[in-house]
Subunit: 231 residues, 2 copies
């Protein structure tokens, strides 16, 4: 690929596990509501509630927990008990307090790239939660800047790159979400490396792989980055 | 006062009303739980829950709503009904969707100062909620930078000033909270103007007014800023 000066990294499901925590919570949520509805109905209704609330709540565990309580009340016609709502609250706190588990290869790859490139984190979600995860990850020292955004679209990336005086042509974004990490950066003229995570939240799914020859790089692992960047 | 190049503004209760919205919500909360407990017990228990959850949830409406649901379950020994929890969820959404009401004098004062000084917003709380309020306020164009932090302590201000290459000696912070807007900036060697709001959340109350002659300025209104800044 063409030389790049700055590399942006998504955080959740790119540097550390996240969607697997949500997946386990979804399983317990289905079990909690199993005597009222089948798993498909529970999943669809919760997702619809999350999408309806996304504009107000934004991304993150607190908004998810509020949507899960709202959905549980709706799906049970108000028969859900206070103890069950307490379980949902407790589950939300456990998600926030969850240990950070780095993905395979992340620590070594970042340590190597930090010596040769300017590294940024560009993530979305809840401010305090993302800061806490970064602190727990032990990775903070590798990054020159941390950008926690409420949305990762073309305009948001343009603002971040302008703020740090990075030209799109010298920027590579690395992430697991085609929608949030890859497509908006390609649209700006930057390069993007897609490292898929085994699970993808419905909201982040897109139908088509991008076509941007010489600027889009599907990778099997973050470990493949140094070879991609070698001149 | 000594000349200053950059002015930081707190947002909630400095530029627009906020605590009055929480105050109305507290009144409705007391009424909701009145058949279980007196107002003092409700207030104290909710505040204790908020403080216990603050490290995990951070500031903002979503964390407040989760703490309010948790407290309602605890204070009623689980007898609270799903309809009442639905009311709390609905109340949280209304707080997030609430119109932004500027404080008296804010629009004119910022318009005047934007011509002579570099203006920043330095606020804490929920990322999306603060961005939405700023967009609704119509004030965004006056500010060169918006900093939404998870905490406003000395270290956080030091990071922000370093990031924008502002020396503490040429910085004035304006806000309603002695704890979050005034004391940490004075400790760094900056100047601070305190414009009190009629209501102060318990967590932001401090016992003592700061002593920093020539750097601390209690003002009755944001309208008094231009005179303070006049050389």
């Amino acid at each position: 690929m063409r030389p790049c000066r700055a590399i942006g990294f998504d955080a959740d499901d790119t540097l550390w596990h996240n969607e697997n925590i949500f997946e386990r919570v979804h399983e317990r949520y289905r079990a909690l509501l199993a005597r009222y509805h089948d798993a498909g109905t529970v999943d669809r209704t919760l997702f619809a509630t999350e999408m309806r609330n996304l504009e107000l709540y934004g991304y993150g565990v607190k908004g998810f927990t509020l949507s899960a309580i709202e959905t549980a009340i709706a799906l049970t016609d108000g028969r859900i008990g206070a103890e069950e709502i307490q379980i949902l609250l407790q589950q939300g706190r456990e998600m926030l307090a969850h240990p950070v588990e780095l993905l395979d290869g992340v620590a070594e790859t970042l340590a190597a790239l930090a010596g040769t490139h300017r590294l940024l984190i560009i993530t979305k979600g809840d401010l305090r939660d993302q800061e806490r995860k970064l602190a727990k990850s032990g990775l903070a020292a590798h990054f020159s800047h941390i950008e926690i955004l409420s949305e990762k679209d073309e305009a948001a990336y343009a603002t971040v790159l302008r703020r740090h005086a990075i030209a799109p042509a010298e920027f590579l974004m690395v992430g697991n979400s085609l929608k949030s990490d890859i497509l908006p950066v390609l649209a700006l003229g930057g390069a993007a490396a897609h490292v898929p995570y085994p699970l993808t939240w419905g909201h982040e799914r897109v139908a088509e792989a991008p076509a941007a020859p010489g600027r889009f790089f599907p990778l099997a692992s973050i470990r493949d980055l140094p070879a991609l960047l070698r001149p």
